[in-house]
Amino acid sequence: MPVAILIILLLVYAAFRRVNIFQAFCEGAAQAIPLMKTILPTLAVFSAAMAVFRASGAFDLLSSFLSPALNVLGVDPALVPLLVVRPFSGSAALAALSDIFTQYGPDSRTGLTASVLLGSSETVFYTLALYFGSVGIKKTRFAVPAALLSLFTSVVTGLLLSSLFFD
């Protein structure tokens, strides 16, 4: 419902501003194809590695090893792969999320929490490498600790809000 209203407003506003809606839509949608091409290899490597990791039983071993510590923190072990890859690669995080959706379902508690965690965080290290790398910055000063603290905040509030909204 709110999305439908948003789309209507956008279309009316754009028509009012004399935008060629059909042409603009097609131009935008065309950019989706290179994007999908770019993310596919990362998705494939991560999904393949994750599939072996799960099928072999290594995932169960790791989660039973981590679960005492994670239970204290109230973190579902199924969220660990997502949390680990999130700061490095957006595509791998999408693969991890989609893996969680297949295993547990998008409307399970795990699926809902994973969605919030992915949606509220960013690929911190990738952004860092891209932006500072582009101008040859070696000394990053407060950027790394501040970015990591902000990431940490999004994880903590994401977990807290999930238990508030979904339990």
Binding site: A32, A44, S98, T140, S162
Partner: protein
């Protein structure tokens, strides 16, 4: 990322060898990789529709409008941005609208312009750090990819996550902004 993949593969293949299920390794790898195609196909609807709609929004001048709305807040966050200010505000506006692809070129341009007036090349200025931190915690007004993936994976409530997601990313952005203000203030009072 390299280490993560290596760990997953070594541990996965290692455990299969130990438990005598090594014959299943290739099948698991291949089914995992073809799952990736399924994920891309599931995302394709969200990508095509949102990138189309967002391009309409851009053509209608929505990024410019939003970046104008942001500009008072930006003067506070980036007092010495100089001529990079426009690129910064366009970068943040595009990020807020969920247009990561449109945001990156503006962000890189802003970095380049900031670097031109950098007295110590190789050392990040306050403005550069702040731009990076805000980008690394960016507030998105509507998580379109996420909702799209949920819907195409059969969720009956794809939108159920929107409010907690926005609140949580708002908290992260707030922390990022406060930290940047604290650090830059400290540096200025010291110099």
């Amino acid at each position: 990322m390299n280490i993560v993949i290596l760990f997953l593969l070594l541990a996965g293949i290692g455990v299969s060898l130990l438990s005598g299920t090594a014959d299943g390794v290739l099948a698991a790898l291949q089914s995992g990789a073809s799952d990736a195609i399924n994920t891309v196909l599931r995302l394709s609807g969200a990508y095509l529709i949102w990138m189309g709609l967002l391009n309409i929004a851009e053509k209608a001048g929505l990024i410019r409008t939003l970046s104008r709305l942001l500009s008072p807040a930006l003067s506070l966050l980036f007092p010495n941005a100089g001529k990079a200010k426009e690129a910064i505000s366009l970068n943040l506006a595009a990020n807020m609208l969920g247009m990561g692809n449109a945001a990156t070129p503006y962000g890189l341009r802003a970095m380049r312009l900031l670097n031109e007036s950098n007295p110590h090349p190789g050392v990040a200025t306050n403005e550069m750090c702040t731009l990076l931190v805000v980008n690394a915690s960016c507030l998105e007004l509507f998580p379109a990819t996420l909702v799209g993936l949920r819907a195409s994976c059969g969720s009956v409530r794809p939108l159920a996550v929107v409010v907690p997601t926005l609140l949580s990313s708002f908290a992260a952005t707030l922390v990022a902004v406060m930290l940047c203000l604290t650090f830059t203030r400290q540096c200025r009072s010291r110099s």
